[in-house]
């Protein structure tokens, strides 16, 4: 299955992935209109310190602790992609407690949010991958 992989060697810390992620979430046509005067809450987030930076988003684990721990069944695996059903999430944050990558965060609508590889927002390549100017985020099949 194709997953998003990051390589900190090439991450520039430009944070564009976060903006492209946030924009993809709006389903808007123009980033300038969609994100103007908005504090973004992306599903991929940059960690940075002392010149090192990298993006972190859901790894779509084979053994997803978040899905196994989800008390409502809102998190589920579909075709390898871990998705969240916002209607069923009660914001207990068990998944936030469980995720060893820190890749799940509260969303603006009360549920939690996580990277769903843009399966719900766009076709093909996730927005963060498309938006990364340096190939630090790739979408590919690995062993």
């Amino acid at each position: 299955m194709k997953r998003v992989y990051v390589n900190e060697k090439w991450c520039l810390g430009c944070h564009l992935c976060e903006y492209h992620c946030a924009f993809a979430g709006t389903n808007g046509k123009d980033m300038a209109r969609s994100l103007k005067d908005i504090k973004i809450n992306p599903k991929i987030k940059i960690e940075e310190k002392d010149g090192v930076s990298f993006a972190v988003s859901c790894r779509h684990c084979h053994e997803p602790l978040c899905v196994k721990g989800c008390i409502t069944g809102a998190l589920s695996v579909s075709g390898g992609v871990i998705t969240i059903d916002h209607n069923r999430c009660v914001s207990c944050y068990t998944c936030i407690l469980s995720c060893p990558y820190g890749a799940i965060s509260p969303s603006d609508d009360g549920a939690v949010q996580k990277c769903e590889l843009c399966v719900k927002t766009s076709k093909g390549t996730p927005a963060c991958v498309e938006g990364c100017p340096n190939g630090a985020i790739v979408f590919e099949e690995r062993g």
């Binding site: 060697k9 090439w10 520039l12 810390g13 430009c14 944070h15 564009l16 903006y19 492209h20 924009f23 123009d30 980033m31 300038a32 994100l35 103007k36 005067d37 908005i38 010149g51 938006g131 100017p133 340096n134 190939g135 630090a136």
Partner: protein, 503 residues
């Protein structure tokens, strides 16, 4: 001091309707042009620091930025232009030589743009490269006078070492130091993938890149940096650099600030010491000295590597080339006055040397007149911008072209001509780690491969149009060229007819 003040040449135009204050511009500008004001959630910029490299423009996710030419002006004067005045002010202030980078930007004729290419109609067929074989393979190297046969009468291979190229294009010399590790890696990997060569330049060869030896030309220049036997034998050819198109007649200077870590080790000079390449090779004061160096290098490489001698295109280039052809050199490389550089005195870059088209035509003719054109290969460079330039260069008589500026553009260079500042925002002409990492060789090498694959395809299309299916039939085939808007003398030097003249 007011008299010091120079109004910025370029201004950053920010469309605040589109700016979402993502701060990508701020994070990506090594010149610290952009700044985020926390209080007002607003980006501001200082135009004076902008070098117009377009990094911010390219990365802005909302297209909120553009760079515009300042319309601040002095009183109009065709003689004392704003540029001239500003340069004078800068020198009055600093007392120093003006420095520039990349190729000559001034308004001299570009002969390639005044030459047109032929195509077949009716009397012979054009060839479709998608249906028929179309050969762009090139061999470079000296050729013996005669064939030899063994006792059975079979031809024996008496050719000196040859370089094999999939197309008549090579990446010309750019040293590790003047450009980044990642730029070098991109070039080396692209050369390998494409079946062509790249050139170490005068900075030695980083240990990581010995594995690309089959696609490497190692350069020996006047500073002899990084030259040792293993180095000389690591590539497929050795190039003696006598001169460079951007700065004929002068040497090079890589400031000590850039001589750090791997670069110091690769160049075999102490960290932080300036790397100064003398203007001449101090063991070459004459053509016979060159012959000695050529053969020294051949001895050092067991006569297994062709030796290239690279010179800048200067007024007497044809006679110099003739001398080189007789010096034992296998390949002559000529660099025209528009060739790029990581740093050169502005006056030298902009006023010394001659256009490569004229130099090429003159050298090719001279070598043919002397009957020795077949003995050596001829590589030319100095602002080859497209496949059309290559077709024209080959038709004028080149075996192959060197490209560098085009390659850097493919890697992201936006020709801001600020390489000498060392803060290349595209990760090319810099050694600052956080800037170097901006050039991901995985992307870089693919873009180079794309570019040359596209060019090769275009070359094939143009060759096919002329009814030629092998590049050697284009070489020196000047009847395939016509000049437009050139005077008799220019046509004569180029050895071509004017458009409208028949065969």
């Amino acid at each position: 001091m007011a008299v010091n003040f120079l109004y910025p040449d370029y201004e950053v135009a920010r469309n605040y309707d589109r700016c979402i204050s993502c701060r990508a511009c701020e994070r990506q500008c090594a010149n610290e042009v952009h700044e985020y004001l926390e209080d007002s959630n607003k980006m501001v910029c200082d135009d004076a620091k902008c070098v117009n490299c377009h990094r911010c423009v390219s990365l802005c996710p909302t297209r909120a930025l553009k760079i515009v030419k300042s319309n601040n002006t002095y009183k109009e004067n065709q003689n004392w232009t704003g540029k001239t005045i500003n340069e004078l002010y800068r020198q009055a202030n600093s007392g120093g030589v003006l420095l520039s980078s990349m190729g000559n930007p001034e308004n001299y004729p570009v002969y390639f743009d005044k030459i047109l290419i032929n195509a077949s109609q009716v009397t012979n067929p054009s060839i479709d490269p998608l249906r028929e074989p179309m050969e762009t393979k090139v061999f470079l190297g000296a050729k013996p006078q005669d064939i030899e046969r063994n006792e059975k009468g079979q031809i024996v291979n008496n050719l000196p070492p040859q370089i094999s190229l999939s197309m008549p294009i090579m990446f010309s010399a750019m040293s590790y130091g003047s450009i980044s590790y990642n730029a070098h890696e991109s070039l080396a990997r692209a050369a390998e993938k494409l079946g062509i060569l790249y050139n170490t330049g005068e900075g030695g060869l980083h240990e990581d890149f010995y594995r690309y030896g089959k696609n490497t030309i190692v350069q020996v220049a006047s500073g002899r940096f990084g030259v040792h036997p293993e180095y000389l034998n690591s590539g497929v050819a050795v190039e003696i650099k006598i001169g460079q198109g951007a700065k004929p007649g002068i040497g090079g200077h890589l400031p000590g600030a850039k001589i750090v870590g791997d670069i110091s080790r690769t160049r075999m000079i102490p960290e932080r010491s300036d790397a100064i390449s003398p203007a001449p090779h101090h063991d070459i004061y004459s053509i016979e000295d060159l012959r000695q160096l050529v053969f020294s290098l051949k001895e050092a490489t067991d006569y297994k590597k062709p030796v290239i001698v690279k010179i800048a295109a200067v007024h007497n280039v044809a006679a110099i080339a003739s001398g080189i052809a007789r010096s034992g050199a296998d390949i002559i490389a000529i660099d025209g006055f528009r060739g790029g550089t990581g740093a050169a005195p502005t006056r030298i870059r902009d006023h010394v040397g001659i256009p490569i088209e004229l130099a090429l035509a003159g050298v090719d003719k001279r070598l043919r007149d002397e009957g020795i054109r077949g003995n050596v290969s001829l590589v030319i460079g100095g602002s080859i911008r497209s496949s059309a330039d290559i077709v024209k260069a080959v038709a004028l008589g080149a075996d192959c072209v060197y490209i560098a500026t085009s390659a850097l553009l493919a890697l992201g260079c936006h020709l801001c001509r600020s390489c000498h500042g060392g803060k290349c925002n595209w990760g090319i002409a810099t050694q600052v780690p956080e800037l170097v990492k901006r050039l991901n060789p995985d992307i870089g090498y693919k873009r180079l491969v794309n570019l040359l694959t596209a060019w090769q395809h275009e070359i094939m299309e143009m060759m096919g149009g002329m009814g030629i299916n092998s590049i050697e039939s284009l070489r020196g085939n000047r009847l395939m060229l016509r000049g437009v808007g050139l005077n008799e003398k220019e046509l004569e030097i180029l050895g071509i007819k004017h458009a409208g003249e028949g065969l």
